[in-house]
């Protein structure tokens, strides 16, 4: 055999378990209707957000007081609200806001969480104790209550809502990444690298970080739904983005005073929330099942 052919052989031998693993994952994915349905729903959600201007027949803000409180019809799929705005368009544009919220909250909370967790796990002892106490302090509040308080104090804007939710959410990732960091830290190869002169930041960044990231990502998919629900809750209470922002929770609140006669204003945005959160939960469940070593048979 020529040397390239034999190199190919060794490469194939090395990759075979990984390939087998991947093929098994895909097999389980196809076999898990949950993950598939979840993926489809999320995809749908993302597409609606991206193509909002093309999908929405009207503007999210334009009022038409002659046309207020109309029931669902062909001109207005979800009816109109008390200011004559098309509820369907508002919900569609609201998808963009939700995507924005999810993206920013996730990024910020993971960043803070990983930082706190890895530093705590890596340096141990006093640093660890202090950082973990701080984590405990943030976890001592019920999520919504803390987020509400922060938003109220900072003033209700979309940015502040995002910051507030991120400040409440990071604790989970901190705990997870700390546990993983401790596991990685005790591995012999870390000592070896340190003996070769690697500095702590470098070790944390290039060795600990990649190992801690995957359970964090899994946890993130499981928590996406909660992020949306918290944001919607804040919006509903009036502590989210200020009107007339078409955030879904806020739209539900808009319709609250008319719930009995004009049920459509509150029902449809709430339905949108439920569907998207459902999609994330399906996906998260599916991902967790697929990665669970006990179920992977």
């Amino acid at each position: 055999m020529t040397s390239t052919a034999s190199r190919l052989e060794t490469l194939k031998k090395q990759l075979r378990p990984r390939l087998e693993d991947f093929r098994h994952t895909v097999y389980l994915w196809k076999k898990t209707p949950l993950a598939m349905i979840g993926s489809i729903l999320i995809l749908f959600f993302l597409l609606v957000a991206i193509f909002a201007p093309l999908i929405a027949p009207y503007d999210a803000f334009s009022q038409n007081l002659y046309n207020k409180l109309q029931p669902p019809s062909w001109q207005h799929f979800f009816g109109t609200d008390q200011l004559g705005r098309d509820v369907f368009s508002r919900v569609v544009y609201g998808a963009r806001i939700e995507v924005w919220i999810i993206f920013l909250v996730s990024s910020i909370s993971i960043a803070i969480g990983l930082l706190m967790g890895i530093v705590a796990g890596y340096f141990g002892r006093f640093v660890d104790e202090t950082l973990m106490r701080i984590t405990d302090m943030f976890m001592a509040f019920p999520r919504l209550v803390l987020a509400m308080a922060i938003t109220a104090a900072m003033g209700p804007t979309l940015t502040n809502t995002i910051i507030a939710i991120a400040l409440v959410d990071w604790t989970v990732y901190a705990r997870l990444s700390r546990a993983d960091t401790i596991k990685v830290k005790t591995q012999p190869y870390i000592e070896a690298i340190r003996a070769l002169g690697a500095t702590s930041p470098r070790i944390m960044l290039s060795h600990v970080l990649p190992m801690s990231i995957s359970p964090v990502i899994v946890q993130l998919t499981l928590r996406m739904g909660t992020i949306i629900l918290t944001a919607a809750g804040l919006g509903f209470l009036g502590l989210g983005a200020p009107p007339p922002t078409p955030e879904w929770g806020a739209i539900v609140a808009d319709g609250r005073s008319h719930i009995f006669e004009q049920w459509w204003i509150s029902t449809f945005p709430g339905l949108a929330i439920a569907v998207v959160v459902l999609g994330f939960n399906f996906l998260g469940d599916g991902v967790r099942d697929i990665l669970d070593p006990k179920i992977r048979r």
């Binding site: 106490r133 701080i134 405990d136 302090m137 943030f138 001592a140 509040f141 019920p142 999520r143 919504l144 209550v145 803390l146 509400m148 308080a149 922060i150 109220a152 104090a153 900072m154 003033g155 739904g225 629900l229 919607a232 809750g233 509903f236 209470l237 009036g238 502590l239 929770g249 539900v252 609250r256 719930i259 009995f260 049920w263 509150s266 029902t267 709430g270 339905l271 929330i273 439920a274 959160v277 459902l278 939960n281 399906f282 469940d285 006990k294």
Partner: protein, 335 residues
């Protein structure tokens, strides 16, 4: 003995955490807001009123002094005076708290009973139709926004069907003497059966809405945990002893499967407190949650401070109880 040490250690840690919590709340209510007085009074208030309020709230002193006065106040159980109601915040909290306790307990009953039971059934009848139905219910439970569900149920049961009364804790005509502040308990003590029935009708819907999401979480973890336990070696041993399926599940599997579920039940208590905020708002339930929301909307800072601290304290205590019961349930945890 080991358990006692564990509890002491946790209590001590909690003290430290509470101090930090108080600091965080201080930060939120005193440091972040640009001008609390301006926000409360609006832009056109006369200067004397502004100064008077500022002095009243103690905001004219340096931050350090404010902080220590604040901490001192907390130790004495004094959270200041509410700007809105003009009562001491402590009194307001104690007035509204029982309603939330009642609601949370009712919801918790629902959560534990339904969650544990349905999760177990789901695991035992794995992949059969009942399992799929229950799983759908569960996943819906954690996906639907509580406030939306509450609104829809009100629409259905109150407006369309008229089976249940609307918002509030009780009708004007069903008056129950106030002994413990818990209407359900008080009406039983005073044998006020009409009052009890009225209270039950009022609490059903909000308790369901509040408990549904938590019940769903518990059911999910119960199912996963039970499935995991049923795969274990010791279950095989129990079966090989000739113990019937039912005995094996109730005596051997359940206690083991409950362990992760207890954690979720504990966490869900926090969600109950959070959710109470929304549920109480929807159903105009006169509890602490609604109090917090109203205080936040008008920026009644003393009330916000007091209520937030109080809620955090209750929440931490609940978590502590959960951790302790975790240690009591699982002998491996008593480190």
């Amino acid at each position: 003995m080991k358990l006692a040490f564990y509890i002491l250690r946790r209590l001590f840690l909690m003290l430290i955490v509470m101090l930090g919590v108080a600091t965080i709340v201080f930060f939120i209510t005193h440091v972040i807001p640009a001008d609390p007085v301006g926000a409360i009074l609006g832009g056109n208030a006369p200067l004397e009123t502004v100064d008077k309020l500022r002095h009243q709230l103690g905001l004219d002193q340096s931050l350090h002094v404010q902080y220590f006065r604040y901490l001192g106040g907390i130790f004495h159980g004094d959270f200041g005076v509410s700007i809105v109601s003009n009562h001491k915040v402590v009194d307001d909290i104690l007035e509204f708290f029982p309603a939330t306790v009642e609601l949370a307990c009712a919801a918790m009953c629902f959560t534990v009973l339904f969650g544990v039971f349905l999760g177990t059934v789901s695991a035992i009848k794995r992949n059969r139709p009942i399992d799929h139905i229950l799983r759908v219910f569960s996943i819906l439970g954690v996906s639907m926004p509580g406030f939306w569900l509450g609104l829809l149920l009100l629409l259905l049961f109150y407006f369309k069907l008229g089976w249940l009364p609307g918002t509030g804790r009780n009708d004007l005509f069903a008056f129950v003497d106030n002994i413990t502040g818990l209407v359900l308990v008080d009406s039983i003590i005073t044998r006020n059966w009409a009052g009890l029935w009225d209270a039950v009708k009022h609490i059903i819907l909000p308790a369901f809405v509040l408990g549904y999401a938590s019940a769903a979480s518990v059911a999910r973890i119960m199912r996963a945990s039970m499935l995991d336990v049923l795969r274990q070696d010791y279950i095989r041993t129990a079966r090989s002893k000739g113990l019937g399926r039912r005995v094996v599940i109730f005596r051997h599997a359940l206690k083991n499967a409950m362990i992760p579920a207890v954690t979720v039940i504990g966490i869900s208590f926090g969600d109950l407190l959070s959710g109470a905020v929304l549920t109480e708002t929807i159903f105009s339930w006169p509890g602490l949650g609604r109090y917090i929301v109203q205080s936040l909307l008008v920026l009644d800072y003393p009330a916000i401070t007091g209520a937030t601290l109080f809620v955090a304290f209750i929440f931490s205590m609940a978590n502590l109880v959960v951790d302790i019961s975790y240690a009591a349930l699982d002998p491996r945890m008593r480190l």
